[in-house]
Homo-oligomer: 402 residues x 2
Amino acid sequence: MGADQRAELKPPLSFALQGLCAQTGARAGVLVTPHGAVSTPAFLPVATQGAVKALTPQEVADTGARIVLGNAYHLYLRPGTEAIRRAGGLHAFMGWPGPILTDSGGFQVFSLAHLRRVEDAGVRFRSHLDGSEHFLTPERAVQIQEELGADIIMALDECPPHDASPPQLEQAVERTSRWAERCRKAQTRPNQALFGILQGGNDPGLRQRSAAVLLALDFPGYALGGLSLGEPKEVMWATVSQAAVLLPSDRPRYLMGVGSPEDIVEGVARGVDLFDSALPTRVARNGGIYTRQGRHSILNFRFQEEHGPLEPGCRCYTCATFSAAYVRHLFKSRELLAYRLATIHNLRFMAGLVGEVRQAILMGAFPAFREAFLRGYRPADATVRAEQKQRWLAARGRGPLR
Amino acid sequence: MGADQRAELKPPLSFALQGLCAQTGARAGVLVTPHGAVSTPAFLPVATQGAVKALTPQEVADTGARIVLGNAYHLYLRPGTEAIRRAGGLHAFMGWPGPILTDSGGFQVFSLAHLRRVEDAGVRFRSHLDGSEHFLTPERAVQIQEELGADIIMALDECPPHDASPPQLEQAVERTSRWAERCRKAQTRPNQALFGILQGGNDPGLRQRSAAVLLALDFPGYALGGLSLGEPKEVMWATVSQAAVLLPSDRPRYLMGVGSPEDIVEGVARGVDLFDSALPTRVARNGGIYTRQGRHSILNFRFQEEHGPLEPGCRCYTCATFSAAYVRHLFKSRELLAYRLATIHNLRFMAGLVGEVRQAILMGAFPAFREAFLRGYRPADATVRAEQKQRWLAARGRGPLR
């Protein structure tokens, strides 16, 4: 495509940097999509099945979130992407008028589906819902996401486990590279931005190879995949540090599946702009409440007669309306309202956090903010975290806590 | 108390009739409580544990409901009435600024608690939550409800099963009468209205005896208890017809535990002013959607691509915001938002129904309204209804459907 033709096609996405931390490389920017602008750094609440669990779209927006993540794998299986297309696309179907990002389904196929067989053509798998057989190719992944109609869509990648062998990792990089090119070619809608996904595990050489191929394909944004899969935190951060600088500074960088409040701050410090994770909402449904001091369990006895809010000073709907004692009572009584109120608080916490991070970057004060935040915030214990993750994986698909 | 003293105490409740259907005895009135006025007939959504399941107080009010029912038995066991008193009472604790009615706990002790032993002094039982032993007397039932601080509180009654023997029924009437007198004497707060509860099963003579004693105690309102417990509908309506006319026309009449849309209309036609039931909200959590044509299951295939609202013309938040296809998808995916959206619709349906019933009474058109409504509304099949009730009772305490 020549320069003239390019100019005729209004790009589906623009990204402008507004601030850069000289010391860390942390960035503040703005991402403009066909459904509105998003200030970055941004955290994407996860609307796996077309709803942020327990919330209405208005409630999600009221927390300060401006973009949500939908899940192509789940929506393809149920209610079906054709049905969503006929409903007017995912924005109309779920009643969210703002920007949406969908992932390609790759990660879910590799983590959730049964009996998968990967080959160069694509990946064959059985639905975790009914065992039906499906074949997902790069072209089909793009087609599905075009039917859903998100503003940002993701290339299909092969996502090996964090303890994959070097040959497996290398094969995944090669395949992900070929699939990325096929995804790029398969795009037919001009108003969606397709992001490429880097693989390569924690091998710097493979990450570099993955970046080289994807950069040649000139994606409007890049994601770091294959991370936050159980590897030690310091290993993940070394990879992020190394891989982020391979990416063009004028494109948004997206760290998939991250994460917790402290991980967002650490990711920003390595030049990442976008994050998504089910953690803040899942933690909320289990009674975990984010505060600037760390994560508290609302079931703790000390909240039994705490007539003040979950977190003093918080302006979320929950804290403005109800006492911690009442929220605790709802959790103890397994009232459905409990899950909503905690989710609202945690998403407001995440939106507030990225907002403050952004302000700090714009004011040239990010390193001090980072240090103060991490000094004050006590992360969940690593063992507790690992146990909870196993419990959630085991309970997947059952009850409100999933 | 002389007339002078009476005048000095501002009554906690006033009730004024505004319309009366000459043909049926259906009444339209207004009930004024310390926390606001309620137009009657009124349906009370059930906030068993201090929350209308899945809704915030604002959402409850937005459906048009003006008074809710709290459950003394549940709140006494968890979080404890002392804790609620220290939180500022039930209104403050649950964030509902409008009128509240609490039941005494009698019905739950007789239907839910374990190992209960009734004696004249009171009823001894074990908590269904943790097996702890408790002794509920008429005096304690009033004290608990004074700590909760509802606008309307209920006397402790003995509620025998619908197939109780005549001697059992008679004993329950006698005991309920003595307990009513003790409750009346136990009241210490001037700003709560204590209602008496008639018992007597479906025996007209016993109902008359129960009414005679309670009327002599001059309660500001009267409830019909011991109904809707599994007896045939026509038997229940015969009792309501007979008992309602025994009650003073200047006091509100409350039919406890009723009910479905068609039962509300039938109850109003027999002179009842107030109704409460968990049915509309429980039906909603099971995907049952009230419409003027009857109750539909949202899981029905015909809603799969219904891009219009649950019920055309409905102005509830759910119908104004989401398609039936989306609500169905949320139910199929067991998304927590599903239970809320259906609950909002059904409570709006109930508030709309009693509002229209009231208008019809005021306009002298209630018999025609009743006939048109019942002709158009197809009630749930009696067998289906009975099966569902058994399923719910068995599932009590587990999961979002309870």
